[in-house]
């Protein structure tokens, strides 16, 4: 909860700075003494992990940009020069590429955490919407970044996605031409994508500041979904959550390192090791794994414009979630019916991701994958637009505990806080 500042400058220097620019005060209040619910679990560590990922991507990205050349004739070779000639270039490139995948792994866990514990519900609606904005910016950044190596998948992925805009009636093809800067994806497109790819992460950083600010006004939600009622329900952020976040960050980095050092091309597509050829389309055009669910939705609709609208609608839907859920109980721990539909959503998203990786006419176990994608897409929209509103009204939630302290400490909750 944001309340009066607890910072007490001790030395003369501290008082001097505090009177002029209270940054130490801000840091003290937000990261040191900030009262945080004492029952946060592992799923609440991913916010800190995401901030780490953003930092890693920016640092590796800036160092890569010292060697990368954003010209259609030189880009592919400049990446190979980084891999072969630049000191530790191979390491920095693999950290950046796998870092993007880790960034999205963390953001999906972070978002599903929000859905499960009702972190989008009042008074945290804007916090959730700002999060959706960050997610959108991340997808744009990742898309621009993937184009830069100028491999076959870079080029053709750019062609497919920018062509989506031509689905818009009347102005669509003009928008596509405007995006390309040419009659098709080419050098002009690559140059501007590099500029935007460099820009957007700093915009993301600014929006993340808003995200954390919006969080700190009401304070963190917690797995029980009940409000903080007294200081006994909380512990200071430092050392409890600085240490907890650091620990789970280490585990995350171990997984990250396993990919970087033992399987750095696991998430990549071999076609991207071929230089871009505008005259030859690869047999399968596939985006990176984190965009596959939306790709599956897009391809499951036979109409071009409708497919774009459905795909866009899937993301826009997220903005309305705070108002779609009618339940007065936040956390799915106490919502036995919603909990099951939640896991259904998780399965549906994974299924959509799987479908996105298959070719359009793939058939598995006698079932055409395009129908699996259609049914999963229907469930996705039904979950938010039908299930969320209805379940909130008909469900009988379990009894909520009296307070966080009581659920954590039991009857000792009556004892004074340490």
């Amino acid at each position: 909860m944001s309340g009066p500042s607890t910072y007490n400058p001790k030395s003369g220097l501290e008082r001097w700075i505090d009177a002029r620019l209270p940054l130490p005060r801000l840091l003290h209040d937000t990261v040191h003494t900030f009262p945080t619910p004492r029952n946060l679990n592992i799923w609440y560590t991913f916010g800190g992990i995401l901030a780490f990922c953003l930092g890693v991507q920016i640092v590796t990205g800036i160092t890569l940009a010292m060697h990368y050349v954003a010209n259609a004739n030189l880009a592919f070779n400049s990446v190979e020069t980084i891999m072969r000639d630049v000191n530790y270039g191979w390491l920095i490139r693999y950290i950046h590429a796998n870092g993007a995948s880790m960034f999205f792994l963390a953001v999906y866990i972070h978002m599903f955490r929000g859905l499960y514990y009702g972190s989008y519900k009042a008074p945290r609606e804007l916090l959730w919407i700002i999060g959706v904005l960050i997610y959108l910016l991340m997808m744009a950044t990742a898309f621009f970044g993937y184009v830069l190596p100028w491999g076959q998948m870079s080029f053709w992925g750019a062609t497919v996605i920018t062509n989506l805009f031509s689905a818009i009636p009347v102005v669509g093809s003009h928008i596509a031409t405007w995006l390309w800067g040419d009659f098709a994806v080419g050098d002009a497109t690559l140059n501007r994508f590099f500029s935007l790819h460099y820009l957007l992460p700093f915009i993301i950083a600014g929006v993340v500041v808003l995200h954390i600010w919006a969080l700190h006004v009401p304070g963190n939600n917690n797995p029980l979904g009940i409000d903080v009622k007294s200081p006994q329900d909380t512990v200071p952020f430092h050392p409890y959550y600085t240490v907890k976040d650091a620990f789970y960050l280490v585990l995350f980095v171990i997984l990250f390192a396993a990919f970087v050092f033992y399987s750095p091309d696991f998430f990549g597509n071999p076609d991207n090791y071929q230089p871009a050829n505008p005259l030859v389309t690869p047999p399968e055009i596939v985006p990176e794994w984190y965009l596959l669910p939306f790709y599956a939705m897009l391809r499951s609709i036979p109409s071009k414009l409708l497919g774009v609208l459905v795909m866009g609608g899937a993301i826009v839907t997220l903005v309305f979630i705070p108002w779609l859920d009618t339940s007065r109980v936040r956390s799915c721990r106490f919502r036995p019916l919603m909990k099951q539909f939640f896991w259904g959503l998780v399965v549906c998203c994974v299924l959509l991701g799987y479908c996105g990786a298959q070719s359009v006419d793939a058939v598995k176990f006698g079932i055409p994958m395009v129908w699996v994608a259609r049914i999963a897409s229907i469930y996705y929209f039904a979950f938010f637009w039908l299930i969320m509103p209805i379940i909130g009204l008909i469900e009988t939630p379990k009894k909520l505990p009296a307070s966080i302290a009581q659920s954590v400490l039991g009857d000792k909750a009556a004892a004074p806080a340490e």
Binding site: T63, M66, D85
Partner: protein
């Protein structure tokens, strides 16, 4: 009680110091690649050393070769030019040091220590004043009074051994590291 308290205190201190040290080593290891990536890449280093074929150069002729991003003068000297270079008293020179990367820093600017094979003078074509490229002097078109080079930027004049004789330049033209692989092939750098 007192013993337990000091034990716990010492153990915590040990853990702090140990974790802090490992963390510091880890941080240094993590930071190093990002600093080292700015050092010259293997591609840049490979271009640091080039072999030059000398067969086409006539006596009295100079070629300008691009070496490490800068001009390199490879001059095949005539006997007259070698004579005039050897005849100079080193102590009268504005810069008495050889400035030869193949020799110790204290070597003097005798012609023998500037061009190990007297016929071939190999110097960096970078004026030691402010970095312009000096113009070579030939008997047909003399540049400066000393038969070597004249830098048109601020008037520095070099002799046939590339030593500064007149003008604002403080040092003789630098001799880069080189080795003759054969009589007609030299590897510079």
């Amino acid at each position: 009680m007192a013993a337990t308290t000091s034990d716990a205190g010492t153990r915590r201190d040990f853990l702090y110091v140990a974790a802090g040290s490992v963390g510091a080593v880890g941080a240094a290891a993590a930071v190093w690649p990002f600093i080292d990536q700015m050092n010259p890449s293997t591609g840049a280093l490979a271009l640091g050393s080039t072999e030059i074929d000398l067969t086409a150069i006539q006596p009295g002729q100079q070629i300008v070769y691009k070496w490490r991003g800068q001009p390199l003068f490879v001059r095949r000297r005539t006997p007259a030019e070698i004579e005039s270079a050897k005849a100079v008293d080193v102590n009268s020179l504005p810069d008495p040091l050889a400035r030869n990367a193949n020799l110790p820093d204290t070597a003097l600017a005798n012609d023998a220590d500037r061009a190990t094979k007297p016929e071939w003078l190999i110097v960096k074509g970078v004026c030691t004043h402010l970095g312009c490229t000096p113009t070579v002097s030939t008997p047909q078109i003399p540049e400066g009074e000393y038969g070597g080079w004249l830098c048109h930027c601020h008037g520095s004049e070099y002799d046939t051994s590339g030593r500064i004789r007149k003008g604002p330049a403080p040092e003789n033209l630098a001799v880069p590291p080189y080795t003759f692989m054969t009589d007609t092939r030299v590897k510079v750098g």
